[in-house]
């Protein structure tokens, strides 16, 4: 499908629809108002198509809301003259857009082979134990932590790198995990 045709194929309805999978957002407040709208407008000037602003727009959504809900997908689609189905297809392709709410601290432990041979699995297990998450992708009971395995963070010389929200912690060993978690409180 050509870029320019997307907007006209199936124009999104004016009202963002409900979010049955993750709780109905009856009182959805749009993201793209005020400063966020101005930010998106500036981003749009960088590209010859509106569609190219989709990844940046979704990053704004995630920054403001912590995750990308069905309502936000519909709103983003409308802002860029795309269809919600198209936007959802893009959201689900990329691993970094959260399709569910996650813990206050989103902890990604790199366990790909270069880190794996330096003991990354032990680091992963230590995070699961000390956060109380128990299992990968599960948010701790207090809503504080979600731990996942991530594929190569591109910091292999500093094994094991762990990404906590927007920050990298490098050269993590299982013994350092309690101290790192203490620093988050």
């Amino acid at each position: 499908m050509k870029v320019d045709e997307m907007g006209g194929v199936n124009a999104p309805s004016s009202a963002p629809h409900g979010d049955e999978g993750h709780g109905h957002e009856e009182n959805y407040e749009p993201v793209f108002t005020g400063a966020a709208r101005a930010e998106l407008d500036e981003i749009l000037t960088r590209y010859p198509t509106k569609m190219a602003a989709l990844l940046p727009a979704l990053w704004i959504v995630q920054r403001e809301r912590g995750w990308v809900s069905e309502s936000s997908i519909a709103e983003t689609a409308q802002a860029l003259s795309l269809t919600p189905a198209y936007v959802k297809g893009v959201v689900t392709f990329y691993t970094m857009y959260h399709q569910h709410p996650v813990g206050k601290y989103f902890i990604q432990v790199c366990t790909t082979s270069p880190c794996g041979v330096c003991g990354a699995e032990g680091v992963r297990d230590a995070f699961l134990k000390h956060t109380g998450c128990g299992d990968l992708g599960v948010t701790s009971g207090d809503g504080k932590y979600t731990v996942i395995e991530v594929e190569c963070l591109g910091a292999c010389g500093f094994a094991t790198p762990v990404m906590i929200n927007e920050e990298f912690v490098e050269s993590v060993t299982p013994a350092k995990v309690p101290e790192i978690l203490k620093g988050l409180r």
Binding site: Y47, L55, F168
Partner: protein, 437 residues
């Protein structure tokens, strides 16, 4: 230099000279280190002159494929009436590779300068730097550097007072290894799922937004200002092996080795000297067992092969592997090859975009078999199945992700077959008890 370790006297720091030097991150700091002179000169030259210098320098792509940069640039036809684009591939996601991260963290203006020169040379007014979403610090540093470069009049509609327009934008990815493939990157930049495109048409004909596009790796573009400043002959003369491989190259070293980090050496440097001297050799009490020298997508080398290698495009091929991205993954005698390879195939299964059947099914199938063998439930027939699957996954898909998954499997079975057989006949991993003991 061997960031984060002190530089080795055997290194030749060109790109990495200012790693760890926070002042080099600022416009003024970069200028006092000779920065932006090359761009100023370039904007007063004819684009074709710049392309010729880069051609003569012998610079080849540092992202993996090793295509001659000047020739790639010469595919862009001036005066065709279409907008041209430059893409900088900063999606560095190849397991074992973390060199572009350091270039962006420490010398963001080197990359901006290289992008601006490249864009002007190919007749483009706009360059996009596509940085993987996980690189939060490089993204922050590059964002600031781009803003500062605009504020200083280096970028924009009158770049460095030349009357020529050069825009550079940073674009943040969102987590997908496949977006390091050039056409997947372009789809992703256009706001689409990152599926690689069928070629032809090649990017120089129809690339980003359907327009003529050149795409280069971070390290390639960062080398360009040095070439313009010091001349093609200087760059071409840096070779310890053969004239097809010239210049310096950053190698990211990780895994079971004393001093992991980034090291910059002249192409053709002896790999044995590199591993045992520059990088400090094995960890105490350990012996090296194998090396994956060019990121996880290249064939595994035995130590005999690695120790006989000259580090250049031809040298790694002559010793059973490839230079690739320069991400050197070192494995010592405490590692189980089956476990390492199984984890790599799981990586590729996770990252397959699933367009092509051979890749979508093959990466997952290979992973199931590898994990079965690792768990001690494999059969000898599994080895034949793995080789047959790998054959069907190589050279048959839109991009090379599928081939990359097959590479460690095939080279692993060829070079470390005894370890596979030990898992199958012993019905468990022989290393597991050895390490525990």
């Amino acid at each position: 230099m061997g960031f984060p370790h002190p530089s080795s006297p055997k290194e030749t720091p060109v790109l990495s000279q200012y790693f760890g030097d926070a002042e080099a991150r600022t416009v003024e700091g970069w200028r006092t280190r000779g920065g932006y002179q090359a761009l100023e000169t370039a904007l007063r030259m004819e684009p074709a002159e710049i392309v010729n210098i880069v051609k003569e320098s012998g610079l080849r792509g540092r992202g993996g494929a090793g295509f001659p940069t000047g020739i790639k640039w010469s595919f862009m036809k001036p005066g065709d009436g279409k907008p041209h684009y430059l893409c900088c591939n900063a999606d560095e996601s190849e397991p074992g590779t973390f060199k572009d991260r350091e270039i962006m963290r420490w010398t963001p203006h080197a990359l901006i300068e290289g992008c601006a020169i490249g864009a002007y040379a190919i007749g483009a007014e706009t360059a996009y730097i596509y940085i993987r979403g996980e690189f939060t610090e490089p993204l922050r540093v590059m964002d600031k550097a781009v803003r500062d470069a605009y504020a200083a009049g280096i970028l924009g509609e009158n770049a460095m007072g030349s009357g020529k327009r050069v825009d550079v934008h940073v674009h943040k990815g969102a987590g997908a290894y496949i977006c390091g493939e050039e056409t997947a990157l372009m789809n992703s930049l256009e706001g689409k799922r990152g599926n690689p495109r069928i070629k032809p048409p090649f990017p120089a004909v129809a690339g980003l937004f359907g327009k003529p596009t050149t795409i280069n790796n971070v390290e390639t573009l960062a080398a360009v200002p040095h070439i313009l400043n010091r001349g093609a002959a200087w760059y071409k003369s840096m070779s310890l092996s053969n004239p097809k491989s010239a210049g310096t190259k950053l190698f990211s070293v990780c895994g079971n080795i004393a001093k992991p980090g980034n090291y910059e050496v002249v192409l053709g440097f002896p790999f044995k000297d590199f591993l045992y001297d520059v990088c400090g050799g094995p960890l105490p009490g350990r012996k090296f067992k194998a090396v994956i020298p060019g990121g996880s997508s290249v064939p595994i080398q035995t130590m005999a092969e690695a120790e006989a290698t000259l580090m250049d495009y031809e040298g790694f091929i002559a010793q059973g592997s490839m230079l690739g991205s320069g991400g050197v993954i070192v494995l010592d005698d405490s590692q189980c090859m089956i476990k390492v390879i199984a984890r790599l195939t799981r990586f590729y299964a996770h990252e397959s975009c699933a367009q092509c059947t051979q890749c979508r099914e093959g990466t997952a199938w290979v992973t199931r078999i590898m994990e079965r063998i690792e768990a001690g439930s494999g059969t000898m027939q599994d080895l034949d199945t793995l080789l047959e699957l790998s054959e069907n996954m190589t050279g048959k898909t839109i991009c090379v992700l599928s081939d990359s998954c097959a590479a460690p499997v095939v080279s692993g079975i060829q070079k470390f077959r005894d370890e596979f057989e030990a898992h199958i006949t012993g019905k468990r991993c022989p290393m597991r008890t050895a390490v525990a003991a």
